[in-house]
């Protein structure tokens, strides 16, 4: 295998490893977000025994928000799993060969470009949903922090669990911003390749139009 081919193989392997890691992270993010939403839903649903109208209104609005978050988190989880599943098919083929030929490397590039073409709209939606989730988690951390400060003075709140909740929201908010920025980098790389693939197509077409 020549040096150029070896460099291409290394680049493909590295990119696939990074994209795999990104997908695993987004599945974990979606799973945790879904778990938090279900937990909030359960807590609020169990508290519905009260008859106070103001509390009931609060509980119903919390349940509504939790349902929306749970729905989005579930969609995000399924989308990540779909992308990962398609990607795994290419990954498995890659792992089955020790020293892939020029033909096999081309096949992999074709499959990776095809994967991006197919999943591009889904990735764009995932970037948007993840950003929204990041904003929501940061907002939640801020609200919880303000409530903690207010309630600390009144002495009616346990400090450790409240700080724990804030930390979870901050971490989820940070991940919520990290994921779209990484997906955006991935999209930028493949958008550039797609753009150049138009020129490639023109070259192939002009070759095919030449008389034999």
């Amino acid at each position: 295998m020549n040096v150029e081919l070896k460099a291409t193989e290394t680049k493909i392997k590295k990119e696939m490893k990074h994209f795999m890691a990104l997908n695993v992270m987004s599945i974990a993010f979606g799973g945790i977000a879904l778990a938090l939403a279900i937990s909030a839903l359960t807590v609020n649903a169990l508290a519905l025994k009260t008859t106070d109208p103001t509390t009931l209104l609060n509980l119903f609005s919390n349940i509504g928000i939790s349902l929306v978050v749970a729905g989005l988190a579930f969609w995000f989880l399924i989308s990540s799993a779909e992308v990962l599943s398609k990607f795994e098919e290419i990954q498995e083929e890659k792992n089955s060969e020790l020293a892939p030929s020029r033909e096999k490397l081309t096949e992999r590039v074709v499959k990776l470009i095809g994967l991006y073409r197919e999943k591009k709209p889904q990735i764009r939606r995932m970037i948007l949903v993840s950003k929204i989730a990041g904003v929501c988690f940061f907002a939640n951390a801020l609200i919880q922090a303000v409530m903690l400060v207010q309630n600390l003075n009144a002495g009616s709140v346990a400090f450790a669990p409240a700080v724990g909740g804030i930390l979870v929201s901050v971490v989820m908010g940070a991940v919520g911003f990290f994921l779209p920025s990484s997906f955006h980098k991935y999209a930028m790389c493949w958008d550039e390749r797609l753009m150049h693939s138009d020129d490639v197509e023109k070259k192939i077409l002009s070759f095919m139009e030449e008389p034999l």
Binding site: E4, L5, A7, T8, K11, I12, K14, E15, H18, F19, A21, L22, K86, E89, I90, R102, E103, L105, T106, E107, V109, V110, K111, I113, G114, L115, R117, E118, S182, K185, Y186, M188, C189, W190, E192, R193, H196, S197, V200, E201, K203, I204, L205, F207, M208, L212
Partner: protein, 91 residues
């Protein structure tokens, strides 16, 4: 794998697969095409002289001809360059 491919990518897949003689059903299955589209692509490649047709025991087999070598080589060169000459994705 059911991904969105350009016609040139499909041609390349067919030509690479048909290095050894293949039945149309094998081509359709391997390249994940529907029978109408598969037939159209095979007929096109045959008309360009890139695929040759032979009949063996009443079965029609398609084989990539030496005339397709230029296409296959150009395709691989351009696609590998496309990947090599673009920025690398990192987390």
């Amino acid at each position: 794998m059911n991904t969105r491919r350009t016609q040139y990518e499909i041609y390349w897949e067919i030509l690479t697969y048909c290095k050894t003689p293949r039945l149309i059903t094998q081509i359709i299955q391997r390249c994940n095409l529907n029978s109408k589209i598969g037939q159209e692509h095979v007929e096109f490649l045959e008309s360009k002289g890139y695929l040759g047709k032979t009949i063996e025991k009443d079965k029609v087999l398609y084989t990539t001809t030496p005339a397709a070598r230029g296409y296959v080589e150009l395709f691989m060169k351009l696609y590998l360059e496309l990947f090599q000459n673009s920025p690398e994705f990192r987390l």
